[in-house]
């Protein structure tokens, strides 16, 4: 149903934004996540942590938002869900460059969707947003 998104910016050599998601990510709200990622990029973030500790459910439309977030953090325009696939398989062909978005605290229900659809391979998953942020700011 409802999903809340809280944004926090972490300064550093590589500015990182942490978006803390809580509730359920589905067709009614996935566009808000895309907007939040865009806003973070606009504030200068070049790495993104999606803290999913409080996210209890993700519908397949959530995958579109996660994938869009990767594109946005690469500096690309977010994909128009009504148009091209092109970008996704470009992304798939260079999976290592997709590592500018990390997921933290992924709950089993969400991980199952990522596993089942094969999109798990696009993301690094960390136990906490602190670890994910540190990894992005890359010691």
């Amino acid at each position: 149903m409802a999903m809340t998104i809280e944004a926090e910016d972490v300064a550093g050599a590589r500015p990182v934004a942490v978006l803390t998601l809580a509730g359920e990510l589905d067709a009614s709200n996935y566009e808000r996540l895309i907007e939040a990622a865009q806003a973070a990029y606009g504030r200068g973030a070049r790495g993104l942590v999606l803290d999913m500790t409080g996210l209890t459910f993700m519908a397949s439309s959530g995958l579109v938002a996660l994938y869009s977030a990767v594109r946005i953090m690469r500096g690309d325009a977010p994909p128009d869900p009504e148009s091209g696939w092109g970008a996704l398989h470009e992304l798939a062909n260079e999976e290592s460059t997709a590592r500018n978005v990390r997921l933290a605290g992924v709950q089993p229900a969400v991980e199952r969707v990522l596993e089942r659809t094969g999109l798990r391979r696009l993301f690094e998953i960390d136990a906490s947003s602190t670890e994910a942020t540190a990894a992005l700011q890359g010691a």
């Binding site: 009614s28 519908a59 696939w85 798939a92 089942r116 094969g118």
Partner: protein, 303 residues
């Protein structure tokens, strides 16, 4: 129902006003989006209303065409029962299924079947569905195994038809003489096996990535034998993601529990049981997603 005007209106208004201005208007109106859109559409005036009405009419035609594409003539195969249901969340949707005899030298010894879900709803999903459905049927007809059929469909989607949508699909072949099912799964919900002998209901694992996303699927064929009394349930996430008015999801557990209680029944009984359970659960809440269901059952005793 009233949402159709809003959906039509949204596209039209975006064209007229641009995304930002439209979002502003909707916010300023302080009303649910659908209401705000309808009001805005009304205020634009006669000429555009006529355009909106024309689009609505065409949508209704599209809806009929799309339903006729999805609904299958459930093939009559001696010793087998097939049942299906389909409920789009909006007027037209992106879920589909297929079940048809594979003809070899005039005999139908095998049944091909598919269930798939194009992510997203509405016209773009329906159009992609209309493209993918015959593609899957042709691929399944011509390839040695379901995994090859998915691989071939994926390659076409990746190389030639790039859309912004995700497609999960499961396809398989049933040997109607010995009951052996071979299937492969590209990111779709796991099928449910309901044994007729009373042993536990279970989901059948084995899944690769969804279609269109990666150059190679590398998905495996899964083999399972349907004994007399066994049923195989294929479904889309419109069932498990269905929302109650209080905001609960129907979920896999309710689905499995419902099926457990309903057996042993015919394929049509199982199908009706699932749909009415989901409908009761949703009550007046709007459907979150398309819902599609395909059941293949080998009756316990062949009359």
């Amino acid at each position: 129902m009233p949402d159709r005007a809003a959906d039509t209106g949204r596209a039209e208004l975006t064209k007229l006003l641009g995304e930002e201005r439209l979002a502003e208007l909707v916010r300023a109106a302080g009303q649910p989006e659908a209401t705000a859109l309808r009001e805005a559409l009304r205020s634009i005036g006669g000429a555009d209303m006529a355009a909106a009405e024309r689009i609505e009419r065409e949508l209704r035609v599209a809806q009929r065409v799309q339903r006729s594409l999805v609904l299958i003539a459930e093939p009559a195969l001696e010793g087998w029962e097939i049942a299906s249901d389909y409920r789009p969340a909006r007027e037209i949707g992106g879920d589909f299924f297929d079940a048809y005899p594979i003809l070899e030298g005039g005999d139908a010894r095998r049944l091909g079947f598919v269930i798939a879900d194009v992510s997203g709803k509405g016209i773009s999903a329906a159009l992609l569905m209309a493209f993918v459905r015959p593609l899957m049927r042709a691929a399944l007809d011509r390839t040695a195994t379901p995994a090859d059929a998915l691989e071939r469909t994926n390659r076409i989607l990746v190389d030639e038809r790039r859309t912004g949508l995700f497609v999960t699909a499961l396809c398989g072949v049933l040997d109607i003489e010995n009951g052996v099912v071979t299937f492969a799964n590209a990111g779709h919900e796991l099928p449910i096996l309901v044994p007729g002998d009373g042993s536990p209901i279970r989901s059948l694992p084995g899944s690769g990535p969804l279609l269109g996303a990666f150059g190679r699927l590398e998905v495996d064929d899964v083999r399972v034998e349907l004994h007399p009394g066994d049923a195989l349930i294929l479904y889309t996430d419109g069932i498990t993601d269905a929302l109650s008015p209080a905001g609960a999801r129907y979920g896999e557990r309710r689905l499995l529990d419902g099926v457990r209680r309903s057996r042993p029944g015919s394929a049509a009984d199982i199908c009706r049981g699932i749909v009415s359970s989901v409908t009761r659960f949703q009550r007046e809440a709007p459907a979150a997603d398309d819902l599609a269901l395909l059941i293949v059952r080998r009756p316990a005793s062949v009359p």
